[in-house]
């Protein structure tokens, strides 16, 4: 495998870019592995990568029903941040941000991580108080966060609607400077390449059709490419966790599958240097500008449960209204693409990473809106869980039993209604 360097780029530039080879193999599945990860998204690939790097386990298969980068890895808004306030979440996402900061170097693959600041607009004195509390918690627990006055905000993000007659006048902003965006495909490909180099078999077009149990354990998976057995199994299929869970005969979960849309406009010259979030009442909208110049928009869920990976029009209208309300100069810009991903919405808005009722099965799911930024730490802690058969203390409360204990990890305080945790 070619190691990427300035020298390799230079040499291939002189030889017509013909010297690059495949980034990962396309192996036939073996009949058995030590660890079988279901789900070749960024979480599954990162898990395989860290199982190999941190725990020395390399006899691993990652099963992907489609192709690498074709599921939610390619259906997100590429935002990375760690502005979480609840114990467990804040340490987890801060660890993730720390991994992001060195990820291109670790993977020898440019994930184009751009720490361009994440700016949450505040529209009332109460919102400023709430943000001050939250961002102080972040500072006390080792992350970074600051409040910007209206003057500082105007200087840094000049094109917002600062009019006093705006529908929701802006009072200031809560900012995390180390947050930003990354190139979503590159993260998936970088982890796939790193895992493959360590000997992991990445098996695409391999859909799990059934789970064969042997009492309290999984013995093998029936897949579209044959039976694959393993000693340990990890599910990392957020969006479809419930389906796989039921195939394993495990019944109900505190998860509903919803769809989340994202949008990109025609390319523009550089206009917006940060990720900017507009949050008023029940509305939620965020945007950033990609390296190709398109503005990437994200909004609310579609509000009803769905496995269809396509969005509906009311949210298109809602997102467009928010964009123009926040930045009126976008009024004549056209949306060129929008897409929708199926996401696991959990009962408290936080994820699950835990042991399961089956001895050799481990669960990684329930990522709500936050799966992309979480993926490095998700792989890190999930590998730790699988290798050591016990949860790391950071994720000790991210188990399926937490509702029985009354331990909700509910950042929004929205209660047990999955669609409200956007």
């Amino acid at each position: 495998m070619t190691r990427f360097s300035a020298w390799s780029v230079f040499c291939n530039g002189l030889t017509g870019q013909k010297g690059w080879d495949r980034q990962w193999r396309d192996p036939e599945p073996k009949s058995g592995y030590e660890v079988v990860i279901v789900g070749g998204g960024i979480h599954g690939l990162a898990t395989a990568c860290y199982l190999a790097r941190n725990h020395g386990i390399t006899n691993i298969a990652v099963l992907e029903k489609g192709w690498i980068g074709g599921g939610n890895a390619g259906r997100n808004t590429t935002i990375v941040r760690s502005n979480y306030f609840r114990p467990g979440n804040r340490e987890f996402y801060e660890h993730s941000l720390n991994l992001w900061e060195n990820l291109s170097h670790e993977l020898n693959y440019n994930v184009m991580f751009s720490q361009r600041s994440h700016v949450s607009l505040l529209h009332s004195p109460a919102a400023i108080d709430r943000a001050a509390r939250g961002y102080n918690i972040m500072r006390l627990t080792g992350s970074d966060g600051e409040l910007w006055s209206l003057d500082a905000l105007k200087k840094n993000v000049p094109h917002l609607n600062y009019g006093e007659d705006a529908r929701f006048p802006i009072f200031g902003a809560a900012v995390q400077r180390r947050a930003g965006t990354a190139r979503h495909d590159a993260v998936a490909w970088g982890y796939a390449r790193a895992a493959d180099q360590a000997g992991v078999d990445i098996i695409q077009n391999c859909e799990v059709l059934g789970v064969t149990r042997d009492g309290g354990e999984i013995r093998s998976l029936e897949t579209s490419r044959g039976t694959i057995s393993g000693r340990k199994f990890g599910f990392a299929v957020a969006g479809n966790t419930s389906r796989l869970w039921q195939m394993a005969g495990l019944g109900a979960l505190p998860i509903e599958t919803h769809k989340l849309q994202a949008f990109v406009t025609e390319p523009l010259k550089p206009l917006l240097d940060q990720v900017v979030v507009f949050g008023v009442g029940g509305t939620h909208f965020y945007m950033s500008q990609s390296d190709k110049g398109g503005l990437v928009f994200g909004g609310d869920l579609d509000w009803y449960k769905s496995y269809a990976q396509r969005g509906s029009l009311p949210i298109v209208q809602d997102v467009a209204e928010c964009a123009v309300s926040m930045m009126p100069c976008l009024g004549r810009i056209r949306l060129v693409r929008h897409w929708s991903g199926a996401v696991d919405m959990s009962m408290d808005g936080s994820f699950f990473m835990c042991k399961t009722p089956l001895d050799n099965l481990y669960l990684n799911g329930g990522w709500n809106y936050g799966g992309f930024k979480a993926s490095p730490a998700s792989g890190w802690y999930f590998a730790d869980l699988i290798a050591n058969n016990r949860p790391h203390e950071t994720i000790a409360n991210h188990d399926l039993k937490r509702f029985e204990r009354g331990y909700h990890i509910d950042e929004r305080g929205a209660g047990p209604d999955p669609k409200l945790h956007g």
């Binding site: 496995y307 269809a308 509906s312």
Partner: protein
């Protein structure tokens, strides 16, 4: 856009409605065990396919409806009034 045939108002855009959630849940009696309440409040079958769910016609007749919808295709198979009295009134209407 999903079009929901409200039995009281006729076919309307889903943006007139609020999604209620899984309509197959029956809540246990008040004195039931914590486990039964936990299962009713937190656990979901999260059906991929035809599921029964509730919708509230907020910008219409304000009635709660019980809808059978396919969560893969959004196709609606049936719509009834969620309240038995409402459904009885509909059944009697010629």
């Amino acid at each position: 856009m999903i079009r929901i045939p409200c039995p009281f108002c006729g076919e309307r855009d889903h943006s007139e409605f609020t999604y209620g959630g899984d309509g197959s849940i029956t809540y246990p009696p008040l004195g039931a065990s914590a486990k039964q309440w936990h299962d009713a409040v937190f656990q979901r079958r999260n059906i991929r396919g035809l599921q029964t769910e509730t919708w509230h016609h907020v910008f219409g007749c304000r009635a709660w409806l019980r809808v059978e919808r396919d969560t893969r295709t959004h196709e609606i198979k049936s719509v009834r009034a969620a309240h038995p009295g409402g459904q009885r009134a509909l059944d009697k209407t010629p």
